[in-house]
Symmetry: D2
Subunit: 310 residues, 4 copies
């Protein structure tokens, strides 16, 4: 790996417009709820923050979008902190080798989700937080706001409602896990919290800021507080690398080579430990449900800076 000083991001970001022009904007915007479907498919934003605190950005990086599944990184972090290693008795850390919302695997493995990022796993994490927190929604939002350093980060109640109306598969999963006694709380309470969580809206910049602890040994650089211990931070990064992109995890590790997480809103966050956190946003998704141009641009970024973890 090259020393950080050789990563000339200024030069690299200046080439992004040209690279974008030469990159087709393929794929489809998520269509299962109107709030996602109506987003302008030509939007593109990118924001990178180094551990030294320098910002690099381009495009619509200041426009808020629905972070969707990326929120699962933050809920996992909170649950891991509260529950410790006991968490892994209820959810695995293995890649799924299957679609993000498969019930078959859950059946084969008796109600233990493979990892915290497939839907079943994320729902289980919500159940943990519902058990541990007095006011899950408020406390989680508070946690996120502190990471971003802004008080106006919010859930979108419209999106949460829309999700709920199309959430039968998620309802199936919570009920199914409860039949294995791996969900402790009321089914509707867990679902309600889950839909809220996925409805958070942030800009590329805010989202990158919120994840800086992942490349800073677990420290929130805004206030110096420890969000997660260094060793647990590494473990979250490992899970991100192996499970952050559903059935495209291998492809992403292969081409981009960074721990990361995607959301169906078209966002992707990626982390080079000890170096930087970067967020891209481009709403059109490839067949695996990950941002088409997002992956292309991250591939461009890491191959030009030779900055993968491998």
């Amino acid at each position: 790996m090259l020393p950080l000083e050789s990563l000339d991001f200024d030069k690299l970001f200046s080439k992004i417009p040209d690279k974008l022009e030469r990159t087709e904007n393929l794929g489809k915007v998520a269509s299962y709820i109107p709030e996602l479907y109506n987003v302008n498919p030509h939007k593109f934003g990118i924001h990178l923050i180094t551990v030294e605190g320098t910002d690099y950005f381009y495009g619509d990086s200041q426009e808020r979008f629905s972070i969707q599944s990326i929120a699962k990184v933050l809920s996992l972090t909170m649950a891991f902190n509260l529950e410790g290693g006991a968490l892994w008795e209820r959810v695995g850390v293995e890649p799924s080798g299957n679609a993000f919302n498969s019930l078959s695997q859950l059946e084969v493995e008796h109600g233990i989700p493979r990892n915290p990022f497939i839907n079943a796993g994320a729902l289980l994490i919500c159940d943990v937080l519902v058990s541990r927190l007095k006011n899950p929604k408020e406390e989680f939002l508070d946690f996120v706001r502190k990471l971003v350093g802004k008080d106006d980060i919010n859930y979108s109640s419209r999106i949460a409602l829309s999700e709920k109306e199309h959430g039968f598969r998620n309802a199936a999963m919570v009920n199914f896990m409860k039949s294995y006694e791996n969900i402790k709380n009321d089914v509707d309470t867990v679902l309600d919290f889950y839909f809220c969580l996925c409805s958070i809206e942030m800009t590329c910049k805010e989202l990158a800021q919120s994840m800086m602890y992942l490349c800073s040994n677990g420290i929130n650089p805004l206030n110096g507080e420890e969000v997660l211990s260094p060793s647990r931070t590494k473990r979250v990064n490992a899970i991100l690398l192996l499970c952050g992109f559903y059935d495209e995890a291998g492809e992403f590790a292969f081409k981009v080579g960074l721990p990361g997480k995607s959301g169906v809103g078209g966002g992707i966050v990626a982390v080079l430990p000890s170096k930087y956190c970067v967020v891209v946003w481009s709403p059109r998704l490839n067949e695996k449900g990950n941002s088409y141009r997002g992956i292309k641009i991250l591939e461009f970024l890491t191959s030009h800076t030779r900055s993968s973890i491998f």
Copy 2:
């Protein structure tokens, strides 16, 4: 096949006590709800009615028990009548080759249950009846009472409630099918009707009477009315043979050789078309979830009368 007159049921029934004595009462009573678990495991009843109207019986054949999944034969009959061939676009007629409550198969086949007797299929049949009937619970009970010729057949609200409290897996299935748009009504309404349906209590005699149309070309012998057309009656019998015993359908066809249906309450109904309908009840279940002694005694019955359909 021997002519009916040679089926000397008098003689055969007189041998049942001795046969029972020589048959171990193995297996376990269903334990997931107290109402089933608290049933005396030594109960045994059998009742056979011929198309000529002769009754043969032994043991606790006049004691009511929870018919559970056997009710699915009656709900299928009602739905087939109302919906006709269109029914088969929403549920298959193939054996499942899997446990009765598997979600994996439902996933592979995109929300279309394999047959009307696995749980998912029976839930779908409930959805059809909820769509078609004004007062599903009343009208279904009415339908059953006419078949039995008794006004005091009832749902057990205690059992229905207990089932509901343990019904997360069924809730998972309804939600899952709804995510494939193969459930048209409200999830809770469908589940509520389903739990009611399975809670009906009857004696061996009443249950045998209620199914006489299956060996009488679809005619209710009590009033001469057509319950189901002759050709549809044959088709229900075919589905019973192939799918009536979950993952033990082949074994039952192999050893007993009659269309039939079992319930987790320990009841089994079996039909020899044009000849007789027989019900046995013995609460202890084998590993596949079918009455242990029930199957043994039916095997004894058909091998001694050489009266299988094969």
Copy 3:
């Protein structure tokens, strides 16, 4: 069921030409080996023999075709006779609920094929015969010739060779079962016997004759010898009903209502116990791999004679 005398086959067979004219000849001829692919797709033959020995036939019923998987009924019969009930420790009697050549199920069930008619099960039956017989090929052919009453029934070495050249999936299955120690003999010997077996050629008439024991309590009507005991004969019929049509078993039982077995050469044999055996042949196959017109004509036959087992 109507008494046999009321089954006016003369009249019914006279209607077959008209029925055929009104039945589209859809589907595709099997194309994986040239010997099957080059068969004239317009061929159609049917031959029915009653237990009284009367013959009814139409079309190309005297032309030999490749019986393919139908031979598995005969090899099962031979193996059941030699091995008795111990056979069922190595192969199940449950419908497969899957394609005929699936390896997944074999994996889930640790090398025990679900039934003797899926490919894995038929290969296992070959292994049993290889263990039990001195000269498996000769002795099996002898067995078949006695059933038909003709000395010129033969394997087609051309077809057997072609099968072998495309038999990698079957080779995979034998190796896979051997890894579970459920194949006792040399892999190539078992495969070689299997490909031979499926290459037998017969006319509709010969094939119907060869299976008459299935509707005659196990007696070969040509010589009065017992091919299989009455109770085992019933059991073979039960397996045929549940497993004879791969993933279309339920559909066939539902529509035709007889135990039967199809082959990829376009033949179907069906049996009404104590009444008749019928064979149809029409090379074009439906999506499930069963003769398209064969099933249509059998449906016509049983619905007009009201002669299903249900």
Copy 4:
């Protein structure tokens, strides 16, 4: 990540004896062939080589053992070099989420193995090499010898023969893939090469030396030659991280945090890119088939040096 100079391996290696004493030697030696089963279960060796060329070692690090599946890293490297990106049309880069020798997944994905390290994938890589090389066995051995810098690295013909005698599952997989036309060569030739490959014997030191290109941007440090391009080297490391430990990949990434590969002989190789390559050997395997003490010691190593890639 700490700078290399702070990784005081001298001190760390001096603590290994004590750590070993406090680590139970649980698990079981592989028992499917006598050559593996008869290995002394108390053996333990470790050897680490830094990119600067310093060696650290302990225990039986100079004793040769059967590297088994670790050889698949070397065959993949050779095939990737010869075939380039086209390789990924025939084998995936996704973690398997299943046992290393599952056929179900191969069926679901139509004969395309999920990655090059599950058995099916490694067999496919052998097929590629058989197509590309004139004398596969000689040329592959030559390739390995150059990496190690020793002429006496050899296949063990005894082990290869034993493997073959128990290789029915592998034979099933090659035949199965050939049925999907994803194997181009003769089944036996591919299997023969595969069994040879897995039979190579090396010491911890030799094995570590052979993999130094993985932490040196693809350069063989012994002769300065490029074994694989830098970008392809990164990609192999990514595949190692995601797929190197069968169904324990997530666990290993989570706890150890390095790309690596295990073998059923008890060896594990792990790589910290740009820093070091380390090999441990301890024959007893945990439930997932990976060296029990091997993983414990690597966890000790990376947690004390804080040297994971995350």
